[in-house]
Amino acid sequence: MQRVYLDHNATTPLHPEVKKIIVNSLDVFGNPSSMHSLGREARKLVEEARGKVAHFIGADPEEVFFVGSGTEANNTVLSLVPCSPNKCHCPSARHEIITTAIEHPCILEASKCIRERGAEVKYLGVDKYGKVDSSQLEKFITNKTGLVSVMLANNEIGTIQDIKTLAKIAHKNDALFHTDAVQAVGKMPINVKDLDVDFLTISAHKLYGPKGVGALYVKKGVRFCPLIRGGHQEKGRRAGTENTLGIIAFGKAVELRKIEMTDETKRLLALKQILKQGLQKNIADITFNGHPEDCLPGTLNVSIDGVEGESVLLYLDLEGICVSTGSACASGSLDPSHVLLATGIPVERAHGSIRISLGRETTEKEIIYTIEKMAQVVKRVREISTAY
């Protein structure tokens, strides 16, 4: 059976060149903290990778440190705020965080936890396209706000926020600004100096690198406090022996992104257009979610009236097509996607949503096949539906 992978926002396959470097580096076993030759060899490779990641986002190498995942990076940043500044060197005594209703669960769950520890957390809403309103941030922000955290691009609907404007508002009020850029880095040009953010989160497996490695950018001069304590790795900002192999592969992955990203963006936008038009032509009563322009090039989120998302996902899976859904049934909870609900769409449209995310290996042939199969599956599900 033909397999069509259209779930690149969940994770990406390894780039063949990344795979090659992993295989070739399997014998690099030295501990980068060791002083002897084997340690120094590993250290050199880790620092080379750091340089590549830093360069890719316009940062200095000493501003980038490696972590175990995007989730860890986000938890690290959120853990800064409720800390007492005289106990460790945390940013400020400001015990208030502002984030958004559409963040990834790792931000939402971490924020819930710090609220229980006494911090005040406010959630910005979004408009029907999933955009944060900067004037709401101006209203929410106070002289108690220590941190504002807004994701750069949304994983479910692809909407891209105006981070520069939001960061400016945070800084005007002496608050720090973090952006979870896990979905954005590798899909669009990112420059931390231009965005003027204090913290930025990256994950390797979203950009054709391996799982289990990410990076956190911390702007020079911003006071910082580690989440994971122990040895002096990563300049004391993240204890634990470095994931050398993962870091080397991560470095290679961003290096390749730098070469491939621009052309790929054009290609994906064209493919998405074919997909969008094809679905519109072949399936009645569908609506697209997310911002029509300020959206990740390969992300398309569609709500299909009268169908429940999990059944569509599983029928497509039987045809070899891998997508995801915002339906409650696929999440293990009773509520559908919090992102789609935050955009104000009716609950049943969230249950009937399918996210299709394209990537570097996606072909036009696959898109045509997907349109054809989706039309068949939707017809089939609608035939047994009480709601269509």
Partner: protein, 199 residues
Amino acid sequence: MDWVYTDIVKDHFMNPRNVLKQGEEFVADGEGMVGNMKCGDQMMFKIKVDKIKNTLVDCRWKTYGCASAIASTSVLSEMVKGMTLDKAYLVSPKDVNKNLGGLPDHKIHCSVLGDKALRAAINDYYRKNGMEHKVQKEEAKVICQCMNVTDHEIEDAVLDGARTYVELQEKTKLGTVCGQCKDEAITLLEQYIAKHFSK
């Protein structure tokens, strides 16, 4: 490659039995509709009854639901054909689940609509045929007076994953004011866990 659920679920999901086809003439003696689209699932069940033998001779269904809802209702529709109405009335989600070869715990709540819709259809038949006395009302009973939480809501919370009194409180807010309902709530909690999840 293993499928996400059992092979029986897969079979029924791929080829659901007794679905009411579009344009199909099916003169029903009883009809029930439960659930709603806002919760993500809705189920319609139609039955044909042999009025002398009081048996369910044929049925059709439709759903707005996930794979587990589709498969469980398909299996149910095969199970109940030929049953007396009294017997069909007593078919539980657990019976359905057994015939499916088991669903993961978090999908059980997707499989409880089929039998509910079936009972609604049987009740509809009873009402239409002067057997009102046989209709068993599934009325909710308030357990927590302070927060107005019913036994049905406790059952829903169990289906949604509550296994301890604290989890039940988190999901329903029950027992968070005077706390007098605690013992009764724990008894019900244990009953519903046994009803849906004991192996």
